[in-house]
């Protein structure tokens, strides 16, 4: 049962991180990319850390994993929020590589 739960957590986490990477490559500008990183990457690394917690034989080591989850969940959205704050001040450089974006005007 634990092994099955671990496998589900690992696969979901890796799929979410791959989603974040594809979003970073495909989305048109900085704000959209920081959106992809902030949400998908946070949940992906959270699921991978939960899988590691399920596989440990000593449950007391889970305190460090709680600390790691806390830091990751705190720092990834904060860093992409900072990037969004800086990118607000400058004109957007749209890199339209395949992404269809409706530009009005």
């Amino acid at each position: 049962m634990t092994a099955l739960l671990t496998i589900v957590c690992l696969l979901l986490g890796a799929a979410l991180m791959l989603t974040a990477a594809i979003g970073v490559v495909r989305l048109p500008d900085v704000l959209c990319r920081s959106h992809a990183v902030a949400k998908a990457l946070t949940l992906g690394i959270f699921l991978l850390l939960m899988a590691l917690w399920l596989q440990l034989e000593d449950p007391r080591q889970g305190l460090k994993i709680i600390l790691a989850i806390f830091f990751q969940v705190l720092t990834i959205p904060v860093s992409s929020h900072l990037i969004g704050l800086v990118s607000r001040r400058e004109p957007r450089e749209v890199d339209g590589s395949g992404a269809n974006r409706d530009e009005k005007g």
């Binding site: 092994a3 671990t6 496998i7 690992l10 696969l11 986490g13 890796a14 799929a15 991180m17 791959l18 974040a20 990477a21 594809i22 970073v24 490559v25 900085v30 990319r33 920081s34 990183v37 990457l41 992906g44 690394i45 991978l48 850390l49 899988a51 590691l52 596989q55 440990l56 034989e57 000593d58 080591q61 460090k64 994993i65 600390l67 790691a68 830091f71 990751q72 720092t75 990834i76 904060v78 860093s79 992409s80 900072l82 990037i83 704050l85 800086v86 990118s87 001040r89 400058e90 450089e93 890199d95």
Partner: protein, 102 residues
């Protein structure tokens, strides 16, 4: 069973690092590169997690903490540096007040 899943997940994270390197090489602005570097750091943390699942060890938990905080610190340092270098060449009229606002 878990070993095969770990191989697959390792491959997926490797693809993530390659996509991040593509954006790091191609990104039009510096902020894209900082964002891609954040993605690569988090993927490396995921690889450390996979290795410590495979080897059944708890030695690398401190390494996970160090990598997470280092990635955050590099992003914050880059953002502060960019903000300072973009304000310096053309200081507005009320430079003292405008630097304190965010």
């Amino acid at each position: 069973m878990i070993a095969a899943v770990i191989q697959i997940v390792f491959f997926l994270l490797f693809v993530c690092v390659l996509l991040g390197l593509y954006r790091l090489a191609r990104g039009p602005s510096v902020l894209d590169r900082v964002l891609a570097f954040d993605l690569i750091t988090t993927c490396v943390v995921g690889m450390i997690i996979l290795l410590s699942i495979q080897w059944q060890t708890t030695l690398f938990l401190e390494l996970i903490l160090v990598f997470a905080l280092l990635g955050f610190m590099t992003t914050v340092a880059f953002v502060i540096h960019l903000r300072q270098t973009r304000q310096r060449p053309s200081p507005p009229a009320g430079a003292q007040t405008s630097q304190t606002e965010v």
